[in-house]
């Protein structure tokens, strides 16, 4: 870490997410972050690596971390490229890049801190905000249904997709460890508490109550299938949703280079 004070509010779930990530990296035998390149967008979650991790970190524009990460990974295939972003960043403004990265199976790990709100800008409704939640732009309760980012990642072709909450820090850490050892587009959604911009308006007394809510409403993915959609209203399905092997973008792009060099002889 750089010798800088972390920017998060007291009780923020992003402390837990940073902690889970760094523990995962350490437990995999890394003494530092030299093998990594971090890419992030704009928002609180994007501040996890930038500039606090003593590592290469590219802090991009709102929603644009994934294309920049794609460019980096393609020209530096040996680097472990990790994207940090919030729900607004990854599946709001940057949604199309997320879907296409999963389709391409780009060799990056995307970690999305889902606080269900636009926290940095003061608590406006997000595409992940639960139905009927009060926010600064939905004073009568939100009137749209939230997006299931992990499910979308599965549908779009991600190699690995999982979701945990900050109430399951060990599972979250183990999932990050696993994802770091896999190839292709890996997506981990960490549902995190934002007491400042979400909790206090959504009716939570304090951070403890938010974490208890996460714990009590988490449903393991295996059980969720039996419960069915109606029974899952207001619940958070946690666990792994996919873990599969298919050719990654680095593999397919570099195989094109080989083909081109053969055909280039006649050019």
């Amino acid at each position: 870490m750089r010798d800088l004070k972390l920017p998060f509010c007291p009780g923020c779930g992003l402390f837990s997410l940073s902690d889970a990530f760094l523990k995962a990296v350490y437990e995999l035998g890394n003494e530092n972050l030299a093998k990594f390149c971090f890419v992030s967008g704009i928002g609180c979650s994007s501040w996890i690596p930038s500039p606090y991790f003593l590592a290469d970190s590219v802090h991009t524009l709102h929603g644009r971390s994934i294309p920049v990460a794609t460019g980096i990974k393609l020209v530096r295939p040996n680097l472990n490229v990790v994207v940090f972003g919030g729900d607004g960043d990854i599946v709001g403004i940057g949604l199309s890049h997320f879907v296409h990265a999963a389709r391409r199976n780009v060799d990056i790990l995307v970690i999305m801190g889902n606080n269900m709100i636009y926290g940095m800008t003061g608590g406006q409704v997000a595409p992940t905000t639960p139905f009927k939640t009060r926010t600064t732009t939905t004073p009568y309760g939100s009137f749209e249904h939230p997006l299931d980012a992990a499910k979308l990642a599965v549908a779009a072709g991600a190699a690995y997709a999982a979701r945990w909450t900050t109430a399951q820090p060990t599972e979250l850490k183990e999932s990050i460890k696993k994802a770091l050892q896999l190839q292709g587009l890996r997506f981990i959604e960490a549902v995190t508490q934002c007491p400042t911009a979400y909790g206090r308006r959504a009716g939570f007394k304090d951070v403890g109550e938010m974490l208890r809510y996460f714990k009590q409403n988490s449903v393991p993915a295996e059980e969720a299938e039996e419960i069915g959609e109606e029974g899952l209203e207001g619940k958070i399905v946690v666990g792994e949703f996919v873990n599969r092997k298919s050719p990654t973008l680095v593999e397919t792009v570099y195989s094109v280079l080989e083909e081109a060099k053969k055909s280039g002889a006649q050019d």
Binding site: S50, D56, H59, T60, R64, T70, I72, L79, V256
Partner: protein
């Protein structure tokens, strides 16, 4: 099969641009289909992989310029090519490139706008956008070729300036120059100067404004570089409240270009000595000016012509020199008046006359320019 041999070819402007990029050392291209820039993508999709370069077609122009920025921080020379609508979409990320001092080349093949306009028709309406397209205080380098040969020359130059000054450079061309086929001679390899970005020494830690053009590390090279387009200090650490830090960074970004305008600006001065009438033009429109100048000369009229190969920074010195003798300066351009405002600003004592025509891809003819030269004369 590395770069093209020193031979004479019959290429379109877009093909010359693509080949020149490879000559300049470009090894990453990301783009999104758009007329009239497609031939650059198509050509590079075949050629780049032959030289260990990567071609990517992304999901949109925003992703394309994003991938280009990523590749540049990965240590490669990188480029994208687009036209007005795509250029508009890229603007935020181009601003990110200015603020993070990321070398790259953006080709804008101009077509008729605004909006979708006329997608396949030539225009020159993006001159001001190329200079002022993104928000905030910055200075852009913008080059404007007027032939297939020059498309090659200025594409190489765009990469060289991007690397030298660590900044995005815009190659502002137009549908006509991009699609016309002409004879082009690829210069001998040894005569083409290639500039590469300055790399840091092992002990270096400051990569942003620590010197006029600071050394640029690549990610993965062990420098732990923190890159951000938020206001930052020499080490890339964000300072989003401090006035002094912000002023320092924007003043540095502006000075590194403005202080070297003489190095960056290139024009062609054509019969400018002691002229009575002046003409300032650029890109495809400038091709019609020579004939008008010669027609006027045959009638005993001295007409001088300044052709802008660099549009931004604006070639003030050359336009001022033209204005010393020219009482009237004509500015033909395929838009409703953009460069003319700069000429008016610089040549304030001369009568500056716009000559505009836009739509349908119609070009300004030598006859129209000649008629403008005669206008108001007895």
């Amino acid at each position: 099969m590395q770069t093209r041999k020193t031979e004479t070819y019959f290429w379109s402007g877009n093909e010359a641009c693509a080949e020149a990029a490879i000559t300049a050392g470009c090894r990453f291209f990301a783009g999104y289909p758009i007329s009239p820039a497609n031939e650059i993508s198509e050509h590079l999709s075949a050629r780049l992989p032959q030289v260990d370069g990567i071609f990517m077609q992304m999901e949109d122009e925003i992703a394309s310029i994003g991938a280009v920025m990523g590749a540049s921080w990965g240590g490669r020379k990188a480029m994208t090519a687009t036209s007005g609508p795509g250029f508009s979409l890229m603007q935020e990320t181009i601003g990110w490139g200015f603020m993070t001092e990321t070398p790259c080349v953006i080709v804008d093949v101009q077509r008729v706008g605004p909006g979708t306009g006329q997608a396949t028709k030539c225009a020159q309406g993006d001159v001001m956008q190329a200079r002022w397209g993104t928000h905030g205080d910055y200075v852009a380098i913008v080059l404007s070729p007027n032939s297939v040969q020059e498309m090659f020359e200025l594409t190489v130059r765009a990469f060289n300036l991007a690397e030298k000054y660590r900044t995005p450079v815009i190659l502002l061309t137009d549908e006509t120059t991009a699609h016309v086929r002409e004879q082009i001679t690829v210069p001998p390899r040894e005569s083409i100067g290639i500039v590469n970005r300055k790399k840091p020494e092992q002990q270096d830690k400051a990569f942003f404004g620590s010197e006029e053009v600071a050394p640029m590390p690549a990610v993965g090279d062990g420098f732990n570089v923190a890159v951000t387009a938020s206001t930052h200090d020499e080490y890339g650490v964000r300072f989003t409240q401090d006035a002094a830090v912000h002023r320092r960074i924007v003043e540095t970004l502006n000075a590194k270009i403005n202080n070297h305008a003489d190095d960056i600006v290139q024009v062609e001065n054509y019969r400018v000595d002691d002229c009575d009438v002046g003409i300032v033009s650029f890109g495809c429109t400038s091709r019609a000016v020579y004939e008008a100048v010669e027609t006027a000369e045959a009638k005993g009229l001295q007409v001088g012509f300044v052709r802008l190969k660099t549009v931004w920074p604006f070639p003030e010195k050359d336009v001022k020199r033209l204005a010393e003798t020219a009482e009237k300066i004509i500015v033909p351009e395929i838009n409703l008046g953009q460069v003319v405002h700069e000429v008016q600003r610089v040549a304030c004592k001369s009568e500056v006359v716009p000559l505009n025509k836009v739509g349908g891809g119609q070009l300004i003819t030598p006859e129209e320019i000649y008629a403008k030269i005669l206008e108001g004369r007895k």
